[in-house]
C-alpha cells in the first residue's frame, strides 16, 4: 500500500520502520530536514520536506493516490488539518493522533465530517492497556477479540507453579478450566503446541479464554489473582488522567503523587474522587508515608524514564506483591529493561505504533478478505486473526475433524450468537460466525486459506 506518514518523531519513525519492513511504500513528511534525512537514510522510504498542513507538500508526497495517511506530528490541530486536506485531495484513509483530553469528547462528533478513519490517542491507549492488564495482575499482556468477549492473555509460568510439567492434553483434567493455549514461547523459540507438549517453567504461554474463564484459571493455578483495590500512581500527566478515570469507574482507589502544585489542583478538579498528593515521588519518606508497601499496584508515569525505572525498582523491593507498571518514553534499551524487575513496561510510542500497524494490517487484509481483527502475539511470530463468515462455502457445516487443515493453523474459537466456545472435532463452522484462527503462516486473507487445498497467496506466486 502507499502510505504517507506526516511527522517523523518517535512514533512516526517507529511506524515507518515497521511498515517499511512489511513492504509498504512509505513517504515521510516532516518540517525538520535533519531528522527527515536521518530517518530517510536509515529506512527504505521517500522523504518530502515541508509542513504537512500545506496542500502542495501533501500533493508532492502523493496524497492524491495514497491508500492511507497517518498524521503524527506534535500538534493535534496540525494533525487534524493535515488529515482534512489529505482527504479532500483524495487520500483513501486518514489517521490522526490527537492527545489533548479537551478535544477527546468533541472529536467523535466531527470524526465523520473530517473523514477520519481512526483517531489515535497514545495516552488513552496506554491507559487502557494498563487497566486491561490490571484485571489479571499475573498476566504480562491482555488483548481482546470478538468485541471483548474473548481475550488473548500472555502469562509467564513461574518455577514451582502447578502447571509445570503438565501436558496440554491433560490440562483440562488437571485444572478444570476452559482455556486454550495457542502459542508458547520457550527461550527464543515460538511454537504452536500440540496435545503432547509439556509446559515448562519460564515458558510464556498465550492463551485464549473468555474473561470469566480467564479469571477462574488464574484462581486455580494460584497466581495472585486478588483484586486490585489500591493503586499509587506517581506522576500526573495525561496518561494518569485517563487511567485514573478508568480505574475509578471500576472501584479502585487511586492515589496520585505529583510534584507540580498547579497540576495537582487541575487534577483534583478533573478527578474529584482520586486522592491527589502534592510531593516528590523520588522522596522515599513520602512514599512510605503514603503506604507504598500496602499498595496492590504501583505505576510510575512521570516524564523522566530514569526516574520511573528507579522508582519502580524501589517499589518492587518494598512491596513484592504489588503489580508494577513503568512508563518508558525515550529509552531504546528494551533488552536491558526486560531483565530488570520493573513489572510491565509501558511504551506509549510502541502502543501508538502498534494500534496503527494493526489497523494497516486489517486494512490490507480486508482488501477482498474478511479479516475483522488481527493481533500479533509474542514477537510477531504468531498471528491471531478473526474472520467473519459472510459467504457460502464448502467448508461450512462440515465437522472440523473432517476438514483438511494446514499445519501451523489452529481454530481457536468460534463465536456464534454472542457466545464464544472452543471448538471440538464435532463442531462446525456456520454462516454468520466469527472464527478466531491462530497461525504461524502469515498472509491469510480468507477463512478458506486454512485448508491445505487452497494455499494463501496462490494468485500472487
Amino acid at each position: 500500500m502507499n502510505i504517507i506518514i506526516v511527522g517523523c518523531g518517535k512514533v512516526g519513525g517507529t511506524i515507518a520502520q515497521q511498515l517499511a519492513s512489511e513492504n509498504h511504500d512509505i513517504v515521510i513528511v516532516d518540517n525538520d530536514s535533519e531528522r527527515l534525512h536521518q530517518v530517510g537514510d536509515m529506512l527504505d522510504v521517500m522523504c518530502v520536506h515541508g509542513n504537512g498542513g500545506s496542500a502542495t507538500v501533501l500533493e508532492e508526497a502523493g496524497a492524491k493516490t495514497c491508500d492511507l495517511l497517518i498524521a503524527v506530528t506534535l500538534s493535534d490541530e496540525l494533525n487534524l488539518l493535515t488529515c482534512l486536506i489529505a482527504k479532500k485531495l483524495g487520500a483513501a484513509n486518514t489517521i490522526a493522533r490527537v492527545r489533548n483530553p479537551i478535544y477527546s469528547d468533541g472529536i467523535s462528533l466531527i470524526k465523520d465530517d473530517l473523514g477520519l478513519s481512526m483517531i489515535i490517542n497514545p495516552e488513552l491507549a496506554a491507559a487502557s492497556e494498563i487497566s486491561r492488564t490490571l484485571r489479571f495482575p499475573s498476566a504480562i499482556k491482555v488483548e481482546t477479540f470478538a468485541k471483548s468477549r474473548v481475550e488473548v492473555i500472555n502469562f509467564r509460568i513461574t518455577p514451582g507453579n502447578i502447571l509445570c510439567g503438565v501436558k496440554i492434553e491433560n490440562l483440562k483434567s488437571t485444572i478444570k478450566s476452559d482455556i486454550f493455549i495457542c502459542a508458547i514461547q520457550r527461550g527464543n523459540d515460538v511454537f504452536i503446541p500440540n496435545g503432547s507438549t509439556e509446559l515448562m517453567p519460564n515458558d510464556v504461554i498465550s492463551f485464549l479464554a473468555s474473561p470469566a474463564s480467564a479469571h477462574e484459571f488464574f484462581k486455580k493455578i494460584g497466581a495472585s489473582s486478588h483484586k486490585i483495590r489500591d493503586m499509587i500512581i506517581i506522576g500526573g500527566g495525561r496518561l494518569t488522567y485517563y487511567l485514573t478515570k478508568m480505574l475509578l469507574q471500576v472501584g479502585i482507589r487511586v492515589k496520585i503523587i505529583e510534584e507540580n502544585l498547579k497540576r495537582c489542583e487541575e487534577l483534583s478538579e478533573l478527578l474529584p474522587d482520586a486522592m491527589i498528593i502534592h510531593g516528590d515521588g523520588t522522596d522515599n519518606e513520602l512514599l512510605h508515608e503514603e503506604g507504598i508497601e500496602e499498595a496492590d499496584a504501583v505505576a510510575t508515569l512521570t516524564g523522566l524514564d530514569e526516574q520511573n525505572v528507579i522508582m519502580s525498582l524501589y517499589a518492587a523491593q518494598n512491596s513484592p506483591n504489588a503489580k508494577i507498571f513503568t512508563k518508558i518514553k525515550h529509552f531504546d534499551f528494551d533488552d536491558m529493561l526486560k531483565s530488570m524487575d520493573i513489572g510491565s513496561v509501558i511504551y506509549p510510542k510502541y502502543i501508538t505504533a502498534d494500534h496503527i500497524i494493526k489497523y494497516v494490517r486489517v486494512m490490507q487484509n480486508s482488501i477482498g478478505s474478511n479479516v475483522e481483527t488481527l493481533h500479533h502475539i509474542i514477537d510477531d511470530k504468531v498471528e491471531v486473526l478473526e474472520f467473519r463468515i459472510r459467504e457460502q462455502s464448502d467448508m461450512l457445516s462440515v465437522p472440523i475433524e473432517q476438514l483438511k487443515i494446514r499445519s501451523g493453523v489452529l481454530i481457536a474459537c468460534i463465536n456464534r450468537g454472542g457466545k464464544g466456545f472452543i471448538p471440538g472435532g464435532k463442531d462446525t463452522i456456520e454462516m454468520g460466525d466469527t472464527v478466531i484462527i491462530v497461525t504461524t503462516n502469515k498472509g491469510l486473507y480468507d477463512i478458506e486459506n486454512i485448508l491445505s487445498l487452497k494455499p494463501a497467496h496462490a494468485d500472487s506466486v
Binding site: D25, D41, M42, M46
Partner: protein, 479 residues
C-alpha cells in the same frame, strides 16, 4: 569498515559481471569467432571468486556512509580490472594497462580509446567494449539494487555513491523499485534508438553497439571514423538521443506520470536546454563558412554540442580544425557536463547552477552585508550541507585536474592537449582538443599517463568523493 559486507557485495558484483560476459560469448558464437574463448576462463575465475564471497554472512548489514562509499569505489576498480582480462587474454590488446584503460573507459562511459585501429577488433570484443558503456551508464550497483534487493538498512548510501549529481532523488518510496524504474526507462530508450537507427539502414550490429554507446553517454564507436561515415539521418537520431540521455531521468518519470507542468518548470532542464541552444547557435555562426550550407554547419555543431555536453564524445567531424572560439565553447561544455541523475558525466548542470546562484547572492551581499537569503532550486532550499559538498567536489576536481596535468606533462605534449585530455577523462567525455591523432585516441600517451587518466576516469564517474575516502586510513580501520 564492515569487511564482510564489502566482500559480499563485491562477490555479487563479480558474479553479475560473469553473467554479462556471456553476451559477448554469444556474439562470438553468432560470428563464429575464436575470440569468444578468451571470455570463458575469465567467467570461470569470476565465479570461483564471486560465489564464495557472495555467500558470506556479515553480522551487521547496515550500509553506513563509509561502507556505501567504499563498496562503490572498490567495486568499480575491481570491475574494470576483471573486465580488462578478456582483451588481454585474447591478445587483442596486448598490454594490460592498455586493456585496463579501455575497460575503465568503457564502464565509466568515457569512450576514450588506446586503439589505433578499432576495426581490427573481433565482434565479441567490440560488443563487450560497448556493453560496458551500457552497464556503467546507469550504474552496476543500481542494477544489483534493481534485480535483488539488499538486506539491511541505509542501502540508499550505495545509490548515493554511484548516482551522478549532488543528491540522489528517489522517484518511488522503495529504492529497489526506483532502480528498476530507472533501468526500464533506460532500456526502453536504448531499444527505441536501436530501432530508429536500424530503420535508417544502419547494420544491426552497429546500431546495437552505437545504441549502447549513446545510452551510457560513452562514445565507443564501431568505426575508426566514429560516426562520420553514417547518414545524416542516423547522425540526427544520435544527436537527439545524446541530448535525451543528458537529462535527469526523474523528468521521464514525471512525464510517465503525466505531470507535465513541473517538467517545464524544472530549472536544471531549462538551464541545460538553454546552454545547448546558445552553444549550438554560437558554434554554427563561428563555423558556418567551413561548410557548404548553413544547415550542414548547424547539423555538425548540434551533433558536437550534444556529444560533448552529454559527455558521450562521438564525433562526426574532426573539431580540432575548428576555430579557437568553437573549441573553447566545447571545453567549457566538457566542464559543465550533463544533468544530475542522467547517465552523463562532468560537474553536472545542477552544480553549476547552484554555484552561479551562490555567486549572485554573495555579490549582492557585498553591498548589503545583512541581507538574508537562501538558495533554492525548484522551490526547494539548498541545504548548507549540500552546498558544502558541491564546493568540496569543485575543489577536489580542480586539485585532481592540476595534479594529473602535472604528471601527464612528462610526456611532453602541448599544454592544451594535457589539460583537455585530463578534463576529458575526469568528465568522462572521450575526445580532447588539440589531439595528437584522432580526437578520442589516447594511444600515444605513455603507460604512466594512461594509468593516471584511468584513475581520473574512475574518480570522475563516481564524482571523486567515494574514491577519495579509499585514501583515508580511518576507512579501513575496524570499528
Amino acid at each position: 569498515m564492515n569487511y564482510k559486507l564489502l566482500l559480499k557485495i563485491n562477490g555479487k558484483l563479480l558474479m553479475l559481471e560473469a553473467a554479462f560476459m556471456l553476451l559477448p560469448v554469444i556474439t562470438a558464437l553468432i560470428y563464429r569467432e575464436s575470440s569468444g574463448l578468451s571470455f570463458l576462463p575469465v567467467i570461470a575465475l569470476l565465479l570461483i571468486i564471486g560465489i564464495p564471497l557472495s555467500r558470506l554472512n556479515p553480522r551487521r548489514t547496515e550500509m553506513y556512509a563509509r561502507e556505501g562509499l567504499a563498496i562503490v569505489a572498490t567495486s568499480w576498480i575491481l570491475m574494470s580490472l576483471a573486465g580488462a582480462l578478456p582483451f588481454y587474454i585474447s591478445r587483442e590488446i596486448p598490454v594490460f594497462i592498455d586493456a585496463f584503460f579501455e575497460t575503465a573507459s568503457g564502464f565509466t562511459t568515457t569512450g576514450a580509446s588506446i586503439l589505433d585501429d578499432v576495426e581490427t577488433l573481433s565482434h565479441s570484443m567490440l560488443f563487450w567494449r560497448s556493453f560496458t558503456h551500457w552497464v556503467g551508464g546507469m550504474g552496476v550497483l543500481v542494477f544489483i539494487l534493481a534485480i535483488a534487493p539488499l538486506a539491511g538498512s541505509y542501502t540508499v548510501n550505495l545509490m548515493r555513491a554511484e548516482s551522478p549529481g549532488p543528491q540522489v532523488e528517489k522517484v518511488t518510496p522503495k529504492i529497489g523499485s526506483t532502480a528498476k524504474l530507472l533501468y526500464l526507462i533506460y532500456a526502453f530508450l536504448t531499444l527505441l534508438q536501436f530501432v530508429l537507427m536500424c530503420a535508417g539502414g544502419m547494420p544491426v550490429f552497429d546500431s546495437l553497439l552505437t545504441a549502447f554507446g549513446t545510452a551510457g553517454t560513452g562514445g565507443f564507436g564501431v568505426k575508426n571514423s566514429s560516426i562520420a561515415d553514417y547518414s545524416t539521418y542516423i547522425q540526427s537520431v544520435i544527436t537527439v538521443f545524446m541530448l535525451l540521455y543528458g537529462v535527469n531521468f526523474s523528468i521521464y518519470y514525471m512525464i510517465l506520470l503525466k505531470k507535465i507542468k513541473p517538467v517545464f518548470k524544472n530549472e536544471e532542464l531549462r538551464f541545460y536546454l538553454g546552454i545547448v541552444a546558445v552553444a549550438i547557435i554560437l558554434i554554427t555562426a563561428n563555423v558556418a563558412n567551413r561548410f557548404e550550407t548553413l544547415y550542414e554547419a548547424f547539423h555538425h555543431s548540434a551533433f558536437q554540442v550534444a556529444a560533448i555536453i552529454s559527455t558521450t564524445g562521438f564525433t562526426t567531424v574532426n573539431f580540432n580544425d575548428w576555430p579557437s572560439f568553437s573549441k573553447s565553447i566545447l571545453v567549457l561544455l566538457m566542464l559543465f557536463g550533463a544533468s544530475a541523475g542522467s547517465t552523463g558525466g562532468g560537474m553536472k548542470i545542477s552544480r553549476i547552477l547552484i554555484m552561479l546562484k551562490f555567486i549572485g547572492i554573495e555579490a549582492v551581499r557585498l553591498i548589503h552585508p545583512r541581507k538574508v537569503n537562501t538558495i533554492s532550486i525548484d522551490g526547494h532550499k539548498v541545504e548548507y550541507e549540500m552546498l558544502k559538498n558541491i564546493f568540496l567536489y569543485f575543489l577536489c576536481y580542480a586539485g585532481l585536474l592540476a595534479l594529473s596535468v602535472l604528471i601527464i606533462s612528462l610526456d611532453g605534449y602541448s599544454f592544451t592537449t594535457n589539460v583537455t585530455a585530463t578534463i576529458s577523462a575526469l568528465s568522462n567525455i572521450g575526445p580532447y582538443v588539440d589531439a595528437i591523432n584522432d580526437a578520442w585516441n589516447f594511444s600515444s600517451f605513455s603507460l604512466i599517463s594512461k594509468l593516471v587518466l584511468t584513475i581520473d576516469m574512475i574518480f570522475g564517474r563516481l564524482e571523486i568523493l567515494p574514491v577519495l575516502i579509499l585514501f583515508v586510513p580511518d576507512t579501513w580501520r575496524r570499528k
